[in-house]
């Protein structure tokens, strides 16, 4: 496959939910293409359509119109071609609480046909500081420990495409920083493509070379963190985010020009 194929592509992607006669436009014809090996942040307030967009990329939700493609494969129709090369971590999902961390990782490792699974679990446990937790029931862990286990699960198949929803939520600053470092190393070593939704602007500034800002299902802005800061005349992404979220983005852009 030629390398010009985007790792992830949203092509006029839309999602309309209909329930009890009411329709909600969650994602409104968005388009973007992410280059292989890139790290992109998806920003937006609650209900902006970030999670729905990620779910359509994963094939968990069927688009109403348009297409979500991974390495050129349409995820609504060809998801099984790509799912073994992808993974996802989200606070919306949990793992069986009665199973130990090792048992959970073993089950997922087998689902992905990971070679040398025991060795890989040991390596991941070392990298994510889970070695002492491997034989404890997952449900007995703290929120921060569970987040690291979820991350280990998301990395169990050495994915080329990694989608993360709030990957450092509920982690203390030290552990969160350490996880970000791990993600940076993982991306460099594997040339992995990472798409992450986050409300932590410092995290996005550190990890992402591109930021897509969504609002009410649409892409409100798209660019590198530096370009966005310059465009809005702001010192940090949090201020840019607030400009967009509070409907003063256009005024801020004009003022910066």
């Amino acid at each position: 496959m030629p390398s010009s194929v985007p790792a992830i592509e949203a092509d006029r992607l839309s999602k309309v939910y209909t329930a009890r006669g009411r329709t909600t436009l969650a994602v409104d014809g968005i388009s973007f293409a992410l280059a292989p090996g890139s790290v992109t942040g998806l920003l937006g307030g609650n209900g902006a359509g970030k999670t729905t967009t990620i779910a359509m990329i994963l094939g968990l939700i069927e688009p109403t119109a348009g297409a979500a493609r991974v390495m050129g494969s349409d995820m609504a129709r060809e998801r099984y071609r790509m799912l073994h090369r992808m993974n996802f971590e989200s606070p919306y999902m949990d793992m069986p609480n009665r199973l130990t961390v090792r048992q959970n990782l073993t089950v997922f490792g087998r689902l992905y046909a990971v070679e040398d699974l025991a060795g890989h679990i040991a390596a991941l446990a070392g990298q994510l500081d889970l070695a002492d937790l491997l034989d404890r029931p997952t449900g007995k862990l703290s929120a921060g420990q569970k987040t690291r286990v979820s991350l280990a699960k998301a990395l169990i198949n050495r994915p080329d495409i990694l989608l993360l929803d709030e990957p450092t939520a509920s982690l203390d600053p030290d552990t969160a920083d350490w996880v970000r470092g791990h993600l940076e190393r993982y991306r460099t070593e594997r040339n992995a493509t990472i798409l992450l939704a986050s409300h932590n602007m410092a995290e996005v500034e550190r990890l992402c070379e591109r930021v897509i800002i969504m609002k009410r299902g649409r892409i409100e802005d798209d660019g590198s963190p530096a370009a966005l800061l310059a465009r809005y005349g702001r010192d940090n992404l949090e201020e840019v985010f607030l400009d967009v979220a509070r409907g003063r983005g256009e005024a801020a852009r004009e003022a910066a020009q």
């Binding site: 999602k15 939910y17 209909t18 329930a19 999670t51 729905t52 779910a55 994963l58 094939g59 968990l60 939700i61 069927e62 060809e78 099984y80 071609r81 799912l83 073994h84 992808m86 993974n87 996802f88 989200s90 919306y92 999902m93 949990d94 793992m95 069986p96 609480n97 009665r98 199973l99 130990t100 048992q103 073993t106 089950v107 997922f108 087998r110 689902l111 992905y112 046909a113 029931p137 699960k153």
Partner: protein, 277 residues
């Protein structure tokens, strides 16, 4: 190694044993970790056996017919438990994914729906065996009824009942997946709708004529009639078993089609990501 060789082919119908095995392992880990789950598997079938076993003892002392039909009630209750516990074993294993909010993790993995269903079918047999084997031993010890003396007929009865239980379990799981935990109660109650219609404890002839038509559409009806023919008349009704098997194949195919349609619908409405109420 090619993608297809590793079981990553594009066909939704391809079945990779390693993924089925991974899911079975997941449920075995869970059972191993929970004595209460194992105890529960044995508890209710045992209670049923003792209630109906002692009732049969009492009736047999007062009725010549039931004295001749020794084992009819116990046979019926054990066969009913295969049907009911088979469906419950399937559905509860599925519900474990909903309870643990793990369904989306599975749906973004390479696990195919057909592999998921296959693992749930295997687990329904495992859970059934854990519950039924001790209870059949109780039936021998306490009531002198050897379930295994039914021989090859038992295997045919079992095959037909487990196929029906899987069909019902597949549809129930699809409904819960599509509609969330609000539909969970279906898993515990749906089989009881079939109980009067499949004539577990009485012949089909007892039903009104119009209801007999309904009864004969249901594969378990043939099994319970066949069991009574075996116990009362010492006759194995191969014709009934064949009819049940054909009906089961039809119902199983319909159930899989309904499950896949419900899965597509769940993807449309977004219920795979938020598997709550």
């Amino acid at each position: 190694m090619t993608d297809t060789a590793r079981g990553h082919g594009t066909s939704g119908l391809a079945l990779a044993p390693h993924r089925v095995g991974a899911m079975v392992l997941r449920y075995l880990y869970l059972l191993r970790s929970s004595w209460s789950r194992i105890l529960e598997l044995i508890y209710w079938p045992a209670v049923q056996l003792f209630v109906w076993g002692f009732l049969q003892f009492y009736i047999a002392q007062n009725s010549g017919f039931f004295a001749r039909a020794a084992g009819m009630f116990i046979g019926a209750v054990l066969l009913w438990d295969i049907l009911f516990r088979g469906q419950l074993g399937f559905s509860v294993s599925f519900l474990e994914e909903m309870w643990s909010r793990n369904l989306a993790n599975l749906m973004i993995s390479p696990l195919r729906p057909i592999e998921f269903v296959a693992a749930l079918m295997i687990m329904s047999i495992v859970r059934l065996a854990i519950g039924m084997v001790p209870v059949t031993i109780f039936a021998i010890v306490f009531f002198g009824f050897n379930f295994y003396s039914l021989g090859i007929a038992l295997a045919v009865f079992f095959l037909n009942l487990i196929l029906t239980s899987w069909s019902v379990g597949i549809v129930v799981s699809g409904v819960v997946m599509r509609n969330g935990m609000g539909a969970e109660s279906l898993a515990w109650t749906v089989m009881f709708v079939l109980m009067p219609l499949t004539c577990v404890y009485y012949p089909v002839a007892v039903l009104p004529d119009w209801l007999q038509w309904v009864a004969w559409v249901l594969p378990p009806t043939y099994v319970f009639e066949g069991m009574r023919a075996l116990v009362l008349e010492r006759t194995f009704r191969g014709d009934l078993m064949l009819a049940a098997f054909v009906l089961n194949l039809v119902f199983f195919a319909i159930a899989v089609a309904v499950f896949l349609a419900l899965l597509r619908s769940a993807r449309r409405i977004g219920s795979l990501l938020q598997s709550g109420e």
